[in-house]
């Protein structure tokens, strides 16, 4: 550590070498600075592998779509069943979402059924392998938000859509693919791309 900090005291890790008063003046934002007079102005941090179990659980939650939609018979059964399913839930959906259901989703029900199933499987696989994680989390958020609105904005008790939404938001913000995932390799080559 000492060898690295010899030259540049302006670098974040080396602020402990600077006189404490000087460092404290530079970092007034974070509340942790009040407790530790010298050091980088950062909030407390946790290892990045913490989000990996959450990411793996979310991938299983999305890959559940395979259980009742995989295979030619189940696929056509799902395409046929989805409009009835949506129509049955539509009266309990969020108020402003019902016109969306009636005018956009139900007239093109087969298309949306196919899109939803393929999207779920794609999001599940992407989260499982940690590939293009931010894009997958964003897609998962869009899908889950639609289910959430369809189920009537229930935050607790009835369905776990909001819990999955919270999990996906955490995965999105933390770029969970970059630890133990394909994104680690992708980010090495293109580090600033917002898709992973």
């Amino acid at each position: 550590m000492g060898s690295g900090c010899r030259a540049g005291a302006a670098v974040a890790e080396c602020r402990h070498m600077v006189a404490p008063a000087q460092a404290a003046v530079a970092d007034v934002g974070s509340h942790t600075e009040a407790a530790t007079p010298a050091g980088p102005a950062t909030p407390a941090t946790v290892p990045a592998w913490i989000v990996v179990p959450l990411r793996l659980y979310l991938s299983t939650a999305f890959l559940d779509a395979l259980t009742n939609k995989a295979g030619p018979r189940r696929w056509s059964a799902w395409l046929h069943f989805m409009p009835h399913f949506v129509a049955r839930l539509a009266p309990d959906a969020a108020r402003w979402y019902q016109p969306v259901l009636a005018h956009i989703v139900l007239p093109h029900a087969t298309l949306f059924a196919a899109l939803v199933s393929i999207g779920e499987v794609a999001v599940g696989l992407a989260l499982l392998f940690g590939a293009v994680t931010r894009l997958a989390a964003a897609g998962g958020i869009m899908l889950t938000a639609n289910y959430f609105l369809l189920n009537g904005l229930t935050i607790v008790d009835v369905s776990n859509d909001f819990a999955i939404l919270v999990g996906l938001i955490v995965v999105f913000l933390s770029r969970a693919g970059r630890t133990l995932g394909v994104d680690a390799w992708l980010a090495r080559r293109w580090p600033r791309v917002p898709l992973w």
Binding site: M1, G2, S3, G4, C5, R6, A7, G8, A10, V11, A12, E13, C14, R15, H16, H31, A35, A38, G39, P40, T42, P43, A44, T45, V46, P47, A48, W49, I50, V51, P53, L54, Y57, L58, T60, A61, D64, I155, V156, D157, V158, S159, N160, F162, A163, I164, V166, G167, I169, V170, L173, S174, R175, R178, T179, A184, A187, R188, P191, R192
Partner: protein, 231 residues
Amino acid sequence: MNCRGAPFGASAYSKKVQSAATSSLGRVRDRLLFDPPQRTIAVFGHRQGILPTVSEGATGPVYVRPDAMSEPSRRLSRRIFVLPRVYVGVVFAVAGMGQLRASAVWTDPGQSWPAALHEQLAQWLPHAASWYSPILTQWLMPHADSVAPLVAWLNLLMGVALVLGVATRLVAAAAVVLLLNYAAAAGHSIYGAWPTAAYTALALTVWLARAGREWGVDAVLAPRWPNAGIW
């Protein structure tokens, strides 16, 4: 040298330097939890993946492409995990309040909460996991009258504790145990769309991240007793 700039706390890093783990398990633990400060930098969400490392003779921040050695040292801001902590807390608190007032989803109108719990456990009993049904029939269902208010108060207190960030690790571990009980009693696969699996994953994440230490009461408790396992 005790580097106070380490984001994970001076005591942890000095402990690592002094212990110099010689067992392979100790080395794995050190690599997972702590890292030499040269390769560790706390990053905010929008700067993930950019890990400047300082080289000899550098006069300012040097951008170095993340390499295979620097990737494992990624760290995340703990603030991300306040959201699941508060959400799981709200879920538990609402469930507990509903159970105490006999207005939970499980209760029929006019039914008391202990009777509703007994009825729900009886409905689940044929589907329960094989190792769990003795627990249901011998401990939970006969004593439903005393278990039910305990569960309701536990839910409420755990929810409030999570929202406030008090003893977060203890409460999150208890939440995981409680939810695993629900999963075993209901008998659904824990990887299914059963709601408890999602809440269990969130509670486990909160436990791993010690989410109370940011924007919570644990932020005050932890610096005074940093090694207590309950926050």
